[in-house]
Amino acid sequence: MNTLATTRSRVHAGRRPAAALLAGCALVAGLAGCAAGTPADATAAASGEAPDLAGTVTVFAAASLKSSFTAIASEFEAAHPGTTVALSFAGSSDLVTQITAGAPADVFASADTTNMAKLKDANLLAGEPANFATNVLQIAVPPSNPANIGTFADLATPGVKLVVCAPQVPCGSATEKVEAAAGTTLAPVSEESSVTDVLGKVTSGEADAGLVYVTDVRTAGDKVRGIAFPESSNAVNTYPIGTVRGSRHADLATAFVSMVTGAKGKEVLADAGFGTP
């Protein structure tokens, strides 16, 4: 009995270095998580004190709006000295989940009407949202176009490594609509959760073609080539923007929305490849 006990304790000792290392990793991961949380906390604290048209307005926007909204935000800050625009970009459904869970957003710009409706259903929207941009799909291929893609029908050619969005996300439901309208059945090698993942597979050269938004092709620059196709008009994504109910900076939020829907915003969005609703 005694022998068994000592033997067991030896076995445990043998595992201890591994256990210690694992615990260390958990600690490191925890610290990294804390570090990542700091800017958001700082933003929340900064948005606490705000007299009119000064202070921080927090804008949650769909990932595809990153470059446009970054440009509009600096225009806004220049037009209203003393204000800061804090931008948070993610998938629209992620952002809705965050706002519903109490994230301190003042403005929400969605990549589709469905997610805006979710926020409205949760009674978290002040007033009606305004549609400010549209986006359509485009075929993205590597610059050398190894599979010789020219039309939407070419995507269905056997052997073409096509990557699309999964039907559960907005770009994927757009893909399904276009597919139905074109009467072509696609056989993708991967259905990604976000348009960024699709684009990544094309820019890295793994995929022969991907279906992304025209604005994503524009953002990717010369890393991909965009091929427009007429069937894309069957799935036009509309981008709504609205102010979040209970915003502590309602005036700032309204001013930001006006800039996005106004002349300046239209100009920036058109440059990025967005259409007008």
């Binding site: 076995v11 043998g14 259905e191 990604e192 993942d197 793994e206």
Partner: protein, 280 residues
């Protein structure tokens, strides 16, 4: 590192228990939150949907394959690191353990530029007619990449603790190195190997970032359970929560298996009196 022997005196002040309880709660509470959030009336239909079952099956198959690969590659690696002596040994150990602390997405990018079509080995593999990207093989490679250090660390620790005595005796009795390895060393460290393998399996099962970056996501081919959860979350939160609970249950079973049932090795009291060597 000093070895603490079990005895009647524990020497732990009461306040340590208090903080330890807070630590345990910190880990357990999120799991309780998942259980509380599950839509129980719909639980069975949600987890037995075709896509869920396909994803779970793929996860179990690929994790089993990557665990096997971890054993094949990891046992020699641990032996060399624990018993061998060559220049750059410490550096090699640090590098092999790197995936433990690397963000999985970084692992995925690294694998992409190694085995991908445009990658370091990609063109060579392409000539041989091997296409790894977007295949189940890519999933297994991603899982092996992140899980291998778990096996190496566990086994190396066991090897160091076991010491050399029995091997030395076997060698003086005329056993060749391979015989010593097969008949003495491996049986001695079998519990360490087993717990390492189970940990590797658990890590493979949870692999997400590297798979998403490197293998893509297609039902039945590359969409493992974590990827399915990530996707379901976009449209069906209830399904995502239900599947999360399945993964928690599988992970709990696996960890329980590793730490609950590992038996002491058959050979008793090996190297009991040799002082433990501190890993460098």
């Amino acid at each position: 590192m000093t070895r603490r022997r079990q005895g009647p005196y524990s020497g732990i002040p009461a306040w340590v228990y208090l903080i330890a309880a807070a630590g345990a709660l910190f880990v357990l509470l999120p799991l309780v939150a998942i259980i509380a959030k599950v839509n129980w009336p719909q639980f069975l239909p949600l987890i037995t949907s075709e896509s869920s079952v396909t994803a779970l099956g793929l996860s179990l198959r690929t994790s089993a394959a990557s665990t096997a690969l971890c054993i094949i590659l990891g046992v020699p690696l641990a032996l060399v690191l624990a018993r061998g002596s060559f220049p750059g040994q410490r550096l090699l150990r640090a590098l092999v353990l790197l995936p433990l602390v690397l963000p999985p997405v970084v692992g995925g990018i690294a694998l992409l530029y190694t085995f991908g079509r445009q990658g370091l080995l990609g063109s060579t593999l392409d000539v041989l007619g091997i296409r790894i990207a977007f295949s189940t093989t890519a999933v297994i490679l991603a899982q092996t990449f992140v899980a291998l250090p778990f096996l190496v660390v566990s086994l190396e620790g066991a090897l160091r603790t076991a010491g050399y005595k029995y091997e030395a005796v076997a060698a003086t009795l005329g056993a060749r190195p391979t015989t010593v390895l097969r008949r003495v060393t491996l049986p001695l460290v079998l519990p360490g190997l087993a717990s390492g393998a189970v940990l590797s399996f658990a890590r493979s099962l949870g692999e997400f970032g590297a798979t998403l970056t490197f293998a893509g996501s297609l039902e039945g081919v590359t969409r493992t359970l974590p990827l399915e959860i990530y996707l379901q979350r976009e449209s069906d939160a209830d399904a995502a929560v239900a599947l999360s609970l399945v993964l928690v249950a599988v992970a709990a079973a696996v960890v329980g298996l590793a730490y609950g049932t590992s038996r002491p090795p058959r050979m008793p009291r090996a190297a009991q009196d040799e002082p433990e060597r501190i890993p460098a």
